[in-house]
């Protein structure tokens, strides 16, 4: 039971990643609206940023899985 709660807490890292990716995408959209000619560069840096932000969610998820399956 406690393991399940721990896993749930670990998965809360997804909140940060979600907010971070939301902010990054919003800013990127703004930037593209302001400078459509730089869309390619903005998109590539946004993807990298999103991937980095997403990594935290993934770490949380793996921690949760590890808690459930290995504990």
């Amino acid at each position: 039971m406690l393991v399940a709660i721990g896993a749930a807490i670990a998965v809360f890292t997804g909140i940060g990643a979600g907010v971070g990716i939301g902010i990054a995408t919003g800013k990127a959209t703004e930037a593209i609206a302001r400078q459509p000619e730089a869309a390619g560069q903005i998109r590539s840096s946004m993807i990298v940023g999103c991937a980095l932000a997403e990594a935290t969610a993934i770490y949380g998820f793996i921690t949760a899985l590890a808690l459930i399956f290995l504990a």
């Binding site: 990298v48 991937a51 998820f61 793996i62 399956f69």
Partner: protein
Amino acid sequence: MEQIKEELTAQLENPTAFTIPIFGGIPVSQSVLVSWILIALLALAAFLMTRHLRQEKPGRVQLVLEWFVELINGMCKSNIGGHGRSFAPWLGTVALYIAVANMCGLLGLTPPTKNLNVTLALALTSVVLIYGAAFRFKGFKGGFRQFVEPVPVLLPINIMEIVIRPLSLCMRLFGNVLAAFVVMELVKLLVPAVLPAILSIYFDIFDGLIQTVVFVFLTALFIGEALEEA
């Protein structure tokens, strides 16, 4: 709950496909076997597609190949700089491998990238490439100097990065594929039809390609950073 857990555990294992009976037996895991199949397919496709290359009036297949190669070359050049061209074939190979490995679920094969060891190997080669690049192109001294840049105080952090970078590269790829797989399994348990097919397009194709781009892009970025003239 227990049933799902057991089923998932069974799915997530990395079973050994067979054992080569030399040197006391070398186990070949299923991921490696699938990788061999993918490598064979890739090599065959590349061999067949590049047989009739023409310098003038390229065919449709050749245009796709040229687009891909130029994409990789351009990405290496913009992120790594002058030496980018020498890294392009390797990064292109890694991109092809990760892409087909992520998407081979569509063919009914188990994605090799679902195996932590495969992504770990990918990340390790990337790290060897990143830190080796500095030694190769900046000399022995320049290779060591990258650990005390921009200021010597950052030495511990730079050394920690040697571990953190492959770990994050490896975990990101593995976690994404694993998460996609687990979510797909859960969805299949709840809704057995239609929805899994739609979701598999997102997880297998879109997410697979995004992770490929991210992996190669980050590797190129790190190499560019290592080769940056101080």
